[in-house]
Amino acid sequence: MRFRGSLIAAVLAATLPLLSARAEPLQTVPAVQASNATQATMLDAVWAGERVVAVGDHGVVLLSDDQGKRFRQARSVPVSTQLTGVSFVDAQRGWAVGHWGAILATADGGESWQIQRLSSDVDRPLFDVHFFNAQQGVAVGLWSLLLITEDGGKTWTEQSLPPPPGARKADLNLMGLFAGSHGTLYATAEHGQLLHSEDQGKSWGYLDTGYAGSLWSGAVLDDGSLLLGGQRGTLLQGTKEGKGWRRLPTHGKGSVTAMAVAGSRVLVVGLDGLMMLSEDGGRHFQEKQSADDLSLTAVLLDAQGTPVLFSRRGVMPYQK
């Protein structure tokens, strides 16, 4: 993966910290209430009880109380930078992460948010967040940035990772998080690596899928097996132990951005209109394309298996 400019800068910033000193630190600006909020790119969405909470570009947080038919913008979000991940433990309490290393928390179902962490002096974005309960949570991001909390986000601790097999230091980008049934947390990463932790993020091990590219998303299927999404239409399936990885045949060439599981129904979406649906717990997938080849960026399935889709252009019209 080529975080080229950033990488050079980070090396320089580490060796010559004085050089990166800015005359004026970047100021955060609260997200504006926008008439076109539902057209902002949405990058992650979760259920908060009966409510859909989606986060995305420009600090836009969208809420829906009718399973995704209509959305409104959250009342108060203290940042206007891109939000990339969101996690809720119940209908009220949730966390969102994003660029500038931002971590926000809400206690009112996503209506208003407070800053828990922000670091704009280094360009190290967070890409996903997961909370096990109201106290314990994990956030991941660029160059193996791994943060954990034991107190509901009041304090966040940077956790160092062991280097991946064959490497000298841990610098893989951690792109996504998903939880297994027995408290296992998985983090998808570059170079086909899948990280897993059994102790709420304190210690991690690597699982090599054998895939060369980056894994952006993943999910645990109905039968406990793992499904991972990679670049250019790559879809990998492995056992619940993270072994026996095989590549599912796909025609679409869009990188997989998100997937949702509801019983035996599995919906995988990606860039350039990639859409794959399975009705048999992930054994067989049927491919379709979204209209205009629009890049899909987040997906949810409700209890009936009806999808709620988000794209580069925001909320997708409700589909039956």
Partner: protein
């Protein structure tokens, strides 16, 4: 005739008779002098050429135009040419299609005035694709340098099509349905050696060397841009001559029908044409050309001339009918009409001079030439015409026939003159008041600027506008865009402040601005420095949408800025300027204003130290500046015209009643005109503003001629009702006749190929009639009402100004 008053006796001692004696005494000498002058001017007039310019349409000193001027080399200019090569069947991805595109690209590059480095198409090296590969990010030209148009095979074409799609050029360089490809180029109005581009000739070359050469049964060549637009307008404007000839013939026929004399008919036309010749000659002497957008003005001036000519002939014929010789009749016409005529023409002159208030060079040019034309009218119509008339011979038979015809015509005017009776006057004023109020109410929220897509000057079904709509429908670029400039304020970069290309706060600021603008109704899409940074950052990071942000790491930011700078029109290489291009749904003033307001609101709500947001370039920026100037100037202009009328009338008649009587019908007429504009969706533009202002100037003629007679009769002790009746009987026919003749003449413009001309024609015709109706009904009724409400303490005096 009845009630006609002989004035010659009492005027013997004034200034006017002395002038009359001198002029008429040496009439051969004077006329010979005028003839020589006309010949000299004619020699210059025939050298006059059509001449258009983009620069002279720009309001001088306007904030937006200053931005446009400052950054014209960095931004996509408003003076851009867009050419589309469209396959009539199938898509553009064929060997002949790409070859044709290559040929057209080459042909454009070698046209004069084209900035060669700005030419962009699939075939130019400045169109490259940024590809995300396993090795990273690579920029390749869309068509590899090794490919020649002669050796295109399916494989090469497929790979070009592929990289075009990958590079995101579908919708910019290739249409969305892939049936056509686009070439864009910037035009320089001035060559390096300072010579001015001849748009008319350039347009002919476009037609000949591009369209005729490369358009055939297989491919269509669509061309839009200012040069094409103004060229097409100029071509359409040459058809104006035909319309004007038609108007001339109609006028001639009408004048003949009116006076039954070939000599008088020719007299009126010759005098009007003489001043036209002088005007064209002066234009040439001043170094101006005939601007296609202002081509109607000389003919407006001509129309004014005919109107005064008819009044003169009316006077002369009336005098002849009472038994005078032609010379005596001409002399009394001269003295009798010099004052109202001068008043009327000076008012028209003032109307044109007020156009100088608009700081747009083209309008100022128009103001100067039109004022000159009107000034010449004073000589040709008030002096030359009676002088010439005095040399004609008229027999008694003609006089007798005229008297009979006059009696017949004025019979029905008696009915009209009854409106001046008190009881009827009340009704007339009541109705007028209601119409006035309705007109004020209805004309609220008039349209400023133009409404239709493409070139508002041309008709909707013109080739240019069809091309424009086709291009707008098939490409992502809109026809209307507003460019907002983010300028690093100089002088604030002290120590400790990062160099501008590392000023990541600037990128964040612009990013927020872009998001704010995307929500403004009327903004279709946005192309900007910051959105390109996002795109590049995403591209460098596997195309992951979670990395589609403006980076905040200074070195990464600067590196990406350098890459963005390779695309023209987005950022200066030193990052001292970056741009946001807002593509708009249309160029209605309301749309542009809304967007401009949104920009200003953002600018005042969120300021960024060291950065200035500057409005505005792009065609919408230029239009916004023009609209603002036009809208801002309209009221003061009309006020000046009214003030001039009031002042002149007061100076001559020394009576406030006269001022009111002359101005009120005009005001009602003006507002009815606004109502008409709104109903017909005619916007207030550079083309229609002069019409409205001038309509007042011409409309007042009728009032002057009628009021002049009214005053005369009152001075002779007649009651107001009688005076009104006599005044209407004497000049009523001439006034109605003039208005209808002029209206019919300009109404023919409604069939013109040029939309703005058709609009002007309709509006002018309407205004001629409305002002006439107002002068014939409201004016007398109002005069009666004023006399009754404010009775005079002293008797009416003779017209004072020039008599004693």
């Amino acid at each position: 005739m009845n009630g006609s008053v002989k004035l010659t006796g009492i005027q013997a001692r004034g200034v006017l008779p002395r002038v009359e004696r001198v002029l008429f005494g040496h009439r051969r000498l004077v006329l010979a002098g005028l003839a020589v002058f006309t010949l000299v001017m004619a020699w210059f007039a025939v050298q006059l050429r059509m001449d258009a310019g983009f620069e002279k349409q720009l309001p001088v000193g306007h904030e937006y135009i200053q931005t446009f001027e400052t950054y014209r080399n960095d931004l996509m200019g408003a003076n851009r040419l867009t050419i589309v090569v469209k396959a009539r069947k199938g898509d553009i991805w064929s060997a002949p299609g790409l070859k044709r595109l290559y040929e057209v690209t080459q042909a454009i590059s070698f046209l004069p005035g084209i900035s060669r480095s700005s030419v962009r198409s699939l075939w130019t090296p400045n169109a490259f694709v940024n590809e995300i590969t396993e090795e990273g990010f690579r920029a390749d030209p869309l068509v590899p340098g090794t490919v020649s148009p002669e050796h295109l095979n399916d494989q090469v074409i497929a790979s070009i099509a592929n990289s075009t799609a990958q590079g995101g050029f579908i919708g910019t360089l290739v249409s969305r349905d892939q049936s056509s490809a686009m070439i864009t180029a910037e035009l320089n109005e001035y060559e390096a050696d300072g010579t001015h581009l001849d748009y008319v000739a350039f347009n002919h070359r476009l037609e000949k060397e591009l369209r005729q050469q490369f358009e055939d049964g297989d491919f269509e060549v669509q061309i839009i841009g200012f040069a094409k637009q103004i060229g097409d307008i100029a071509d359409g404007a040459s058809a104006v001559l035909e319309f004007c000839l038609l108007a001339l013939l109609l006028t001639a026929a009408a004048v003949y029908w009116y006076c039954h004399s070939l000599r008088f008919t020719l007299l009126a036309l010759v005098c009007s044409l003489a001043s036209l010749v002088w005007q064209f000659g002066s234009l040439r002497l001043l170094g101006y050309g005939l601007d296609p957008l202002a081509v109607l003005v000389p003919f407006l001036v001509f129309a004014i001339g005919v109107s005064h000519g008819v009044q003169q002939i009316n006077f002369i014929v009336r005098e002849i009918a009472t038994g005078k010789s032609a010379e005596a009749a001409a002399r009394s016409s001269f003295t009798g009409l010099l004052i109202p005529g001068t008043l009327a023409l000076v008012t028209a002159l003032v109307s044109f001079v007020t156009l100088l208030l608009i700081p747009i060079p083209m309008v100022r040019e128009l103001a100067i030439t039109a004022s000159l034309g009107v000034a010449y009218k004073i000589i040709t119509n008030l002096l030359m015409l009676p002088l010439l008339a005095s040399m004609l011979r008229v027999d008694d038979e003609y006089a007798a026939a005229q008297e009979i015809s006059r009696q017949r015509r004025t019979r029905w005017l008696r009915g009209l003159s009854r409106l001046a009776e008190w009881r009827n006057a009340q009704w007339v004023l009541g109705v007028a008041l209601v119409i006035f109020l309705v007109a004020i109410w209805q004309s609220h929220d008039r349209v400023v600027g133009s409404l239709q897509a493409g070139a508002p000057e041309l008709r909707e079904d013109s080739r240019f506008n069809r091309d424009a709509v086709s291009i707008a429908n098939n490409y992502d670029i809109g026809l209307d865009w507003l460019s907002v400039v983010f300028e690093a304020k100089p002088g604030e970069a002290g120590e400790g402040v990062p160099a501008t290309c590392e000023d990541v706060a600037a990128g964040q600021y612009q990013d927020r601005f872009v998001w704010a603008m995307q929500g403004v109704p009327g903004v279709l899409s946005v192309a900007s420095f910051s959105s390109n940074l996002r795109q590049f950052n995403e591209g460098y990071n596997e195309g992951n949408p979670k990395m589609a942000v403006v980076p905040i790491d200074p070195m990464n930011y600067a590196a990406l800025a350098t890459e963005v700078a390779r695309t023209p029109g987005l950022v200066r290489t030193d990052c001292s300027m970056s741009a946001v291009h807002l593509y708009l749904a249309d160029h209605k003033a309301t749309t542009i204003n809304r967007v401009v307001e949104a920009v200003k609101a953002f600018r005042s709500e969120y300021s960024q130290p060291g950065l200035a947001i500057r409005l505005a370039s792009g065609n919408a920026g230029v239009l916004a500046a023009i609209n603002e100037e036009v809208e801002k100037s309209e009221t003061p202009m009309l006020l000046y015209v009214y003030a001039a009328i009031a002042l002149l009338v007061f100076a001559v008649y020394r009576d406030l009643r006269a001022v009111l009587v002359c101005c009120l019908p005009l005001t009602i007429g003006t507002f009815i005109g606004y109502w008409f504009m709104k109903e017909l969706q005619i916007g207030l533009t550079i083309a229609t503003l002069p019409v409205m202002v001038l309509a007042v100037g011409i409309g007042v003629d009728y009032a002057f001629y009628i009021y002049n007679r009214l005053q005369l009769h009152l001075a002779h002790g007649q009651s107001i009702t009688k005076a009104v009746e006599h005044a209407l009987l004497e000049v009523g026919v001439a006034t109605i006749f003039t208005a209808i003749t002029l209206a019919v003449g300009v109404a023919t413009w409604a069939f013109s190929d040029l939309k703005f001309q058709a609009d002007m024609g309709k509006l002018l015709a309407f205004m001629f009639i409305v002002n006439m109706v107002m002068a014939m009904t409201v004016l007398p009724a109002f005069a009666v009402w004023l006399e009754r409400v404010f009775p005079r303490k002293r008797p009416v005096r003779m017209i004072g100004a020039l008599l004693h």
